[in-house]
Each structure stands twice: as structure tokens, then as C-alpha cells.
Symmetry: C2
Subunit: 572 residues, 2 copies
């Protein structure tokens, strides 16, 4: 499990000391001079309300499960109280736990989940499916309720059950975290190839439930493209689909379970498309004169079928951050690097955009795609930086959430907003979003006095468009930290919705994006989702209040939770 | 519109006279010697029951639509009575029309559809969305009912509304038939690239509603992979999704509408992924020593990313048919062909399997993929036949349904069953299915006395499996033609369901596959589908009796319509 007060391993903090160029730059960009860091409160300052116990339910579970599977342990309850969103961490760092689950249960097989769900349904106990707890949209947080709330932690269901080496599929239990799953598959010569930023602490079931996208999605697809069949336990029985490559037997129920965010049931087993572990993995860096030029290059790669397995373009601002993440080279290497930098500056790379491209496969395949890709990138004046940038990025890619914790110590709001949009709208949307956030930095009530961090990268490409991923940071408004956060969040999301983009490309809905669900999928779409929910989960025990707006739609309003405000504060 | 009594243009019949080798072979294979052909009855022998009129509904439509949009014309009613399945044609050829729609309405824009659906919902009039009428699973047939039934023929909504050339998407009205749609797109330099066997007479909306697969699906995907956004009019309002390349905003509602077979609403507009018209199209023929060897070659192409846009492997039996479809060459060409044949025979190609491979794209791309593919095919002893086989196949590919009509004149049952299965099961399933059908040919009550047609091709490949498409034909059992047909259909479908295959890969469910829906998607899956149906269409006016089993599930049975029997005969 991760730290209760922040991201990742309790034994690890962001290695700021290894990056001497980074902190001075952040201090300047966020206007943090003179601020003293404040850590999360001590564990002793955190107290949870006494758990609600549904005795009949507890008796049933105690009888059916063995010791250690069903616990009221306060440590466990705390660890399952929140995901890892900015407001989650903002609260828990101060010792605020609004609603902890009353108990945590650890099923060890599909039949355990059926037992738990049947008992919960019978006795009206709310359940929250929990994978690794990395959710950043409020998806695993218990909401206000008088009913008993039990978190179903899937951690012990983490086995690869079978591999069909000929068909390249594997049946995997949903609780497997990224590293375990890849280790088990790779020991047999296979890989799923799904590497979201949360990889180290997120689970297969969580990826499927939230429609996650991994770094190599250009090669292997988003998680929904890898799903072949699923098993999901609902209060109305187990929904199971067939292990077949394609079908036309009605609406695709895999896609009903995928993205259901624990509101319809618990996903227990996933039949996934896998591939043979690629013998060659080759990561390279390229520098472009501008984000715009890099976007054009990527789009040409997509259009000409010359697509690396990974392509990630950081805008000028994120590139500045990336460059400062590097430990400065010394001696001759440092001398060369400074010369290269000076040379590039003289050639017009004054505020460049860095691109990471990754190639995976056998030697011949990698050589072929790499040659074709390089030709296109160079045509767009991409400057080849070699393999070292790729290596630095590879090393740091899972460390960025730790950096958020570090910066939060200094009283900063840090969050991300990601979306997807058609190619014709990628650059217009990029510019509009950056401008809107900068405008907010410039507002008189911003304590950063015009300063703040707003960077973006383009990752995850499709024939028809791409994902834009914005990261922003600013000094907190003391005493109004959450209002400030929901102000930014709401403003950016509104901008996405009004400008031809999606509510979320791979972070899901939870509570944070729920107010816009009707704009996203139409009122009739919401009605369809509610109908499934009501039928499969008539007592509304599964992750209530998440994903699907619960208020009845009205003629004049969208009927959803209010926008621009913490949707979990009022009424629930 | 097509012939009321058979497939395709009333001016066209299968050009048997151009294929002198074909008919003698069919006569022998099906044991048809001495049978005199019997054509469909004359139009004068067909009479329809007087239409049921819901006056309030009719008044509303007359007021809202212009003359010619809403008709009780008997010609139109007849043409919309059936799809083109074998039992459909078997009945209508004898003049049997079990239930015609009472009227046909032709919307010309999205707003017309909203008007029609609102009125139908208000007055309890059943509606059946109709594209081109090529459905072969009973999907467009009105079933027994006392309510008025109106077929919504989408033919006039056939425009390409807009093209985003940069993002490679087009918004297209759902009623566009294949040829019109391709013509409109190609005149602007684009193509959808969806060519199902029914291409000439099927519509975009029909493809989406039934999860169709085109011949080039290896390059462009099944229709569901090309859908970017949809608009569907339901009795509860219009369900609309966003034009974005990917999202994680809950279950994918595109995939709820795709495959809904007119049971939830009418699809009116589709935002589709398109591509630039490929400058080069290159079709080749290859000969393999066996179906098994050809399957191995295809699987290797899939596994090494060397995939033509089309790859279609016919088994030995279908190859025999294909060879006899060709007009025999004369003179020197004929001499050469005979020599090649003899040579091949001497090298072990005694009962060969023919493969058509197609390459599309720019010259360089085609050259690259072709070279890599040829290498693999030759490794598996594929003998390159050049471009002429590809051309013959291209020419004949849309003519096969006409051949069915021709053979039906001679008292034959002809049908197809298609499925998909993981690679590890492709050959086992192939052998089991062929053996089971041959066993039936050998049964004492088979009038063909052991003779019959059973061929198969593999088309539509995926990383994890492929589609198998079986065609079978046999002499009819006089007086028991439909029982015979449902006997074969039921036997093959049971075999698919018990042996790790899907109910249908691209022909959809309708009434013909409905009895197996619970086995396909589980009881809880059916419950989810019913819940959506009941919510969006509370009066059950949309294509009632199709796709979703209507009977309540019972504890011991699947509760669906009975198997091995015409599901439309009893009770409905």
C-alpha cells in the first residue's frame, strides 16, 4: 500500500537533491521564495469515526471468509479513505478524513466476491471496489451515508490464471498491480504493455473500470482495446462475456463493464490481449523548435502508418521542467552538452519542445519503423538527441507524483486535466487552455502574483485525434484552497466541453467530472446508464454517487451535481 | 430497392451462362440431376392483409411530413416485409407474407425522425428502422402484432454532411447505401473502406446497428472500430455522443448504440473515421496445399504485423467453387493455365486452398507490405497466382447472393453461418463444423443422398483470433423446408456456442440468433440489455421481438425463445 498522506512507497521521497537545477527553477516559477515547507500531520493527529456495523452482514462475512480477509483495522480504513487526487491529499495531509470505509474486505477468488456482493446486497451494505487506490477523480472515496460502507480491496486476486500462447490472450485476476502482472507475464515471455503513469500502484481491474491509457497506447491501444472478455460480479449475478476476438451479438457488453467505475459491480477476471515481450526497446529524444512543429510531425507519423509504440511531445514549458529534472553532466560530457545547447539556440531552438519516441518489437521491426519515423521527424526539423533523454525520462516517468507531494509541502496546488480532441482542434484547444490558465494566474487574487506552472504534453495518438495532458500548479489561496482548486478544475473542464473535447481521456469520471456527464453523453445517455444501474444494483450499493449523476434531470437544467464546486461537500 | 422475391437488382440475374464449368459441378455436388427449376410466384399471387391504421398517429404524420414521405402503398409494404435470409426468401418466393408493415415512412432529416418517433411513442405504433433491407437474421421483418407497424426507411437520409479532412472524419447520414456513400466520399478524395458482401444494397446505419464487417476489416476495422460518434433517436430523446478520438467518461455509449439492431432507436447520423482514397489497390491470388497451411500463413502475417488490407482464405471446397466461377481461358492462355494446373497437381496442390490478398495504400506502403507478406506466404508454400484471380474475385464478390437465388430455383436450401474464435481454436472449430454438417448430409432422411455443399473461408483477422464463414447447401426436404433449415441452423449454432466461438461475428442477432443470446452474454448481460430497452423504449415500440430475448428468465432454463425452431412461428 501507498503512504496514507501522499503518493507511493512510504520509504521513498522525490530525490530533489539529485536535481540541483530543479528546485530553484520551481521556486521562481511558482513564486515560492521564503515559504517554509509544511509536511502532512502525524498519524496520531488523524482519527476516524467509529465504524458503522451491519451485524447481519458482518456475521455472514465472518462465517464465509477466513481470518484476515475482513477487517475493521483503522490503518486499513484510513488507507482506503481516499484516492490520490489533489483534494484527497490536501485534506488527508491535514488529518481530515471525511468518511472512511467501515471495513475492508480482501477476496481471494471469484467465489469470495460473489459471497461478499450477495451479502452486501441482501443487507444493504455499500461496497466500493478498490484496486491500487491511485484514482484521482474521487472514484474510491466513500461518500456521506448512514449505511455501512465496505471497501473490497482486490489486492489478493492478483494471479495470471492462464495464458493462450497461440491466441495471445491471458486470463488475469483483476486485482493484479502493474509490476506483478508484468512480472508474471514476462516470466513466460509475454507482456500486456500497459504502462500508465500510475503503473507501480494501479491494478488491472482499476485500469479496466476507468478506461485507462498506458504510455504505449499507440502500439497496444487503450485498455478497452486490449479487453477480450470480462467477468463482473453485480448484485444481480455475474456478467460474463466470451473469449472471442470480435462479435456482432448486440451491444458490446465488454464496453459496458469497461468504464463502469465500480458502479455496476466488481470486475474479477479479465481476458486480455497480450503480446510476446519485445526483444528490443529503444527510446529516443528529439527536440523541435516549437510544440506546433512537433504536433505536425506526430500527425504525419500517424497519417503515414509510421507510428512508434510511444510518442510523447512536451510543450516548451514542460520541456523546461524536463531539462531541469536531469542531473547536470560534468567534465567533458557537460562541456559537450553546453556546446550542443548553444548550437541549438543559435539555430532557433530557443524555447524548444522535447519529444520522447519509443520503439518496441523485434530488431528488424524496430529498425524499419525507426528509420521511417526519423525521416518524418527530421523533415519537421526535429533534432535527434539520442538515447540519453529517453533513459532519463524512463527513469523519472513514475516519479512525478512524488514531486507533487514535495511541492504541496510548500503550499502549492498542483493538478492535471487531460482530454482528447480531433486533430483539427489539437492546437486551437491547446492555446485556448494555456491562455485561460495563464489569465487566472494573472488575476489579482492569485497569491503567486502572476506566476504559476502550466505545461502540456501530447500523448496517445489516434487516426482522428490525440490526447492533450495539461499540468498546472500555483500557490494556494490560504483558507480557500479547495474553492481555488475547484475554480481551476471547473474552468478548464467547461473549456473542454465548450470546445470539442472530451470530459476525460483516461482519468475517468468519479465525482470530479460527474457534473459534466450529461454534456458529455447527452441526457438520454445518462438515462441509459441509470437504467442499467437501477436494474443491476437496485439498492444502489455499488460505489454510490460516482460516475452517473443521481439527481433526476429537469426540463431546464442538467440536473447533475453543481459545477465549479466540490461535489462531495454538499448533500451527500 | 431490391427484388421483392430475391437478391439485388430486378434487372440482374446470376450470369450462369458465362461460367460453363459451374452448373454441372453444382448439379453433381448437390445431386440436382433431373430437377426442373421453379421460379418465385408472380406478383399477382402475393396479397397483403389490409393495413392496420392508428388514426391519431397517421394524422400527426400527415400534418408533419410532405406528400410521399408516408405511404400505405402495397409495393412498398411488400418490399419492407422481409430481409434476405433463406427463410425470408423461401416464404416470399411462394407468395407468403406473414406480416407486412402497415405503412412505410421516409424521413429526410434528423428532425423528421424525431417527429416520427415521438408520434409513434405517443400512440403506441411499432417502428422498424430499415436501411437497405439486406439483413439475414430477421432483423427488419415485422412480427405478429395487433398494433400498427411502420417501417422507417432511411433511404432519403443519404448525405455526407461534413468532412474534417485534417482529422479524417466525416459526418454521414445513416441511410446512405454503400455505393452512394463511397461515391460522395471518393469525389472528395476519401473513403470509408467498408465493403461487406452486401455493400451494394446495405446502409451505413444498418452496418452500425448490426456491427457489420467489411472485406477490408484487417486494414480499417469492423464498423464499430470506425465509429467516432453517433446520433440515435429513441422514444426518450436523442442519444448523442461526442466527436472525440477516445474517452474515459464511463461506459462507451457508441458501443451501446452500435449493435442495437433498431431495438433502442433509429441511428440518424454517424461520425465515421475515413481515410484518403488509396492510390494503389493490388489484389493477388495465392494457392496453398491445404486450408491448414494457409491458416498458418495468415496467422504468421498477423503476428509479424505484415497484414494486407484484405486476406481471405477459402478452404478446398470453396476453392473448387471459386475455380468453376471463372470463365475458362481459351487459346494460349488456356494452354498455359492447364499446364500450370498440371504442374501444381504434380507438386502436391491436389486439393488446394485459394487465398486472396489485397494491398491498399500509397505505392511505397503497398510495396513494403506486399514484399513482407509474400515472403511469409511463400514460406508456407503459397504459390503466387498473380493478379487475375484477384480480379475475378473482385468482379464476382458481390454476385454470390444472386447465385443463391439461382440455386433456390432448383429446390435447394442455401445458408451461411459465421463466427469468430481464438487462433488456438480456428482449425479445431473448422474441422468440427464441417464434420457435423457432412454427417447431416449423410443422414438417411437427406434427399441429396449424402451430397451437399459445405465450404468455409477465413476472413477478418485479429491479433487474438479470426472469423470463420461457412456456406452450406443441400436439397430441400419437400414440405419440411423450414424445419430442415432450422435444424441445420440450430445444430451449427449450438456447436459454435459449445466450442468457444461467438454467436455471430458480423451478421447480428435479429430473431435467428436470439435463442442463444443468454449463452452468449450471460443472464446478467441480458438483464442489462432489457433494462436499457425498458427505460429508453417503455412501450416496446422499437423493433419488438428482436435481439433481446423478451421472455423473463427462469431459474432452470434460459428463458429465451426455443432453439432449433423458427422463433417467429409460435407465440408472436
Amino acid at each position: 500500500m501507498m503512504k496514507w498522506w501522499g503518493w507511493g512507497s512510504p520509504d521513498f521521497e522525490f530525490p530533489m537533491h539529485e536535481k540541483p537545477d530543479l528546485w530553484p527553477w520551481i521556486v521562481d516559477e511558482l513564486n515560492l521564495k521564503g515559504i517554509e515547507p509544511v509536511k502532512a500531520v502525524g498519524r496520531d493527529k488523524v482519527s476516524l469515526a467509529a465504524p458503522i456495523r451491519n451485524d447481519a452482514f458482518c456475521r455472514e462475512l465472518d462465517a464465509a471468509l477466513h481470518v484476515g480477509q475482513f477487517t475493521f483495522d483503522e490503518e486499513q480504513r484510513l488507507l482506503h479513505s481516499y484516492g490520490k487526487s489533489y483534494p484527497d491529499l490536501f485534506r488527508v495531509r491535514q488529518g481530515i478524513v471525511r468518511r472512511a470505509p467501515d471495513a475492508v474486505v480482501f477476496p481471494e477468488r471469484h467465489a469470495d466476491v460473489e459471497t461478499i456482493v450477495k451479502a452486501a446486497h441482501r443487507h444493504g451494505v455499500e461496497v466500493i471496489p478498490f484496486g491500487g487506490g491511485t484514482n484521482i477523480v474521487g472514484g474510491v472515496n466513500p461518500l456521506k451515508t448512514e449505511r455501512m460502507v465496505v471497501t473490497i480491496d482486490m489486492a489478493r486476486m492478483n494471479r495470471v490464471l492462464s495464458i493462450d500462447a497461440e491466441s495471445l490472450t491471458a486470463v488475469i485476476e483483476a486485482g493484479a498491480l502493474g509490476p506483478k502482472l508484468e512480472q508474471d507475464l514476462q516470466s513466460k515471455g509475454f507482456s500486456l504493455g500497459h504502462y500508465p503513469d500510475s503503473f507501480e500502484y494501479s491494478s488491472l481491474g482499476g485500469w479496466v473500470a476507468t478506461r485507462s491509457a498506458g504510455m504505449q497506447s499507440d502500439a497496444y491501444g487503450k485498455i478497452e482495446h486490449m479487453v477480450v472478455a470480462l467477468k463482473m460480479v453485480t448484485p444481480s449475478g455475474t456478467l460474463a462475456t466470451r473469449n472471442v476476438p470480435a462479435a456482432s451479438s448486440g451491444p458490446d457488453l465488454n464496453r459496458l463493464m469497461t468504464g463502469s467505475e465500480g458502479t455496476l459491480g466488481v470486475i474479477t477476471e479479465c481476458t486480455m490481449r497480450i503480446h510476446r515481450t519485445p526483444p528490443v526497446k529503444d527510446y529516443r529524444g528529439f527536440l523541435f523548435k516549437s510544440f506546433e512543429e512537433g504536433v505536425k510531425a506526430i500527425h504525419e507519423c500517424v497519417n503515414t502508418h509510421n507510428l512508434p509504440s510511444l510518442i510523447r511531445l512536451q510543450d516548451g514549458y514542460e520541456t523546461q521542467l524536463g531539462m531541469r529534472m536531469k542531473t547536470p553532466a560534468k567534465g567533458i560530457e557537460g562541456f559537450i552538452q553546453r556546446r550542443v545547447k548553444a548550437y541549438l539556440k543559435s539555430r532557433g531552438y530557443t524555447y524548444p519542445a522535447i519529444m520522447i519516441v519509443g520503439f518496441e518489437g523485434d530488431k528488424a521491426h524496430v529498425a524499419k519503423v525507426r528509420a521511417a519515423t526519423f525521416k518524418i521527424l527530421k523533415k519537421h526539423q526535429g533534432f535527434h538527441l539520442g538515447t540519453s533523454v529517453g533513459k532519463t525520462w524512463s527513469k523519472d516517468k513514475f516519479n512525478l507524483p512524488y514531486l507533487r507531494d514535495y511541492v504541496m509541502d510548500y503550499g502549492c496546488m498542483v493538478d492535471v486535466s487531460e482530454t482528447s480532441t480531433p486533430w483539427s482542434n489539437v492546437l486551437p484547444l491547446y492555446h485556448k487552455t494555456v491562455a485561460a490558465i495563464k489569465e487566472r494566474f494573472a488575476s489579482p487574487d492569485h497569491p503567486g502574483k502572476g506566476k504559476g506552472f502550466i505545461g502540456c504534453h501530447l500523448s496517445h495518438t489516434y487516426k482522428t485525434g490525440a490526447c492533450l495532458y495539461f499540468t498546472y500548479g500555483a500557490r494556494q489561496v490560504p483558507g480557500q484552497e479547495l474553492e481555488q482548486y475547484y475554480g481551476y478544475k471547473g474552468m478548464i473542464t467547461e473549456l473542454f466541453m465548450k470546445n470539442g473535447a472530451t470530459l476525460s481521456h483516461h482519468h475517468a469520471v468519479g465525482t470530479e467530472h460527474q457534473p459534466w456527464m450529461e454534456e458529455e453523453v447527452s441526457r438520454t445517455g445518462i438515462q441509459a446508464l441509470r437504467a442499467i444501474k437501477t436494474s443491476l444494483d437496485p439498492k444502489a450499493i455499488f460505489n454510490p454517487g460516482k460516475l452517473i449523476p443521481t439527481a433526476a434531470p429537469t426540463e431546464n437544467g442538467n440536473g447533475a451535481s453543481s459545477k465549479h464546486a466540490d461535489p462531495t461537500i454538499s448533500g451527500r
